[in-house]
């Protein structure tokens, strides 16, 4: 099961809406081994395509070095489908290379850039086998929000 805070869920959905009709992609990092998606990191879709996504190779390296330095791992790897359902495509399955990650698919096919319900589904993809899992949304972690506000105060 994927357990994800409301604010991060909202950020993933907003990113998918914003980039529609191109696919949006990104990661939610969390402490290694914790299974807690905590740090939302939207990525540029270097493919800039409605049918494909790929992290830019230089940004990919920077992302992994940063996560490494923070003892984090990609807890969620997300991307959107803009014309089809929120289910991993054959390409998604073939290229999935994070066996510990939750692969989140958001479909914007219904409402595009507009408000309205979106499909938000989560999967494990291991050795070509897709297993859908439940998604539980938890209230935004209030203490962390307060802390980050404090940090940003000059």
């Amino acid at each position: 099961m994927l357990t994800i805070p409301q604010d991060i869920y909202d950020a993933v959905v907003a990113h998918a809406r914003r980039d529609h009709p191109d696919e949006a992609c990104g990661v939610v990092a969390g402490p290694e081994g914790s299974d807690r998606p905590e740090r939302f990191i939207p990525m540029v879709n270097a493919a800039g395509s409605p049918t494909f996504y790929e992290f830019d190779s230089t940004e990919l390296l920077a992302l992994y070095k940063d996560m490494d330095a923070r003892d984090e791992e990609p807890v969620v790897v997300y991307h959107s489908h803009t014309a089809t359902e929120a289910y991993p495509s054959r390409t998604d399955i073939g290229l999935a290379s994070e066996p510990n990650a939750h692969y989140v698919l958001v479909s914007t096919r219904e409402h595009g850039n507009s408000e309205g319900p979106v499909e938000f589904r989560s999967y494990r993809i291991i050795d070509g086998v897709v297993t859908e899992e439940d998604v539980t949304i938890t209230p935004t972690a209030a203490t962390e929000t307060v802390q980050s506000q404090k940090r940003s105060t000059p």
Partner: protein, 94 residues
Amino acid sequence: MAIEVRIPTILRTYTDGAKSVEGDGGTLSALIDDLEGNHPGIKERLVEDKSGSVDLRRFVNVYINDEDVRFIGGLDAELSDGDQVVVLPAVAGG
């Protein structure tokens, strides 16, 4: 000559779970052959046969000292003692 090679999660089955291993070689190609000697099976995951010649797999990124090897000669990219090599599978899909 020692070169540190960072191994991504998905390939750690070949390195007994190690996040990084040491290798040896004057080029990326030689380094991969050296890795294959100690971690059999890993080469197949990094390179493929493309119309008769061996090349890096399309969705595998390799960096030498933070530079994507595709911009510095690919498998022929040169290595020196103390270099750091990072292997990262592309994050991509359809």
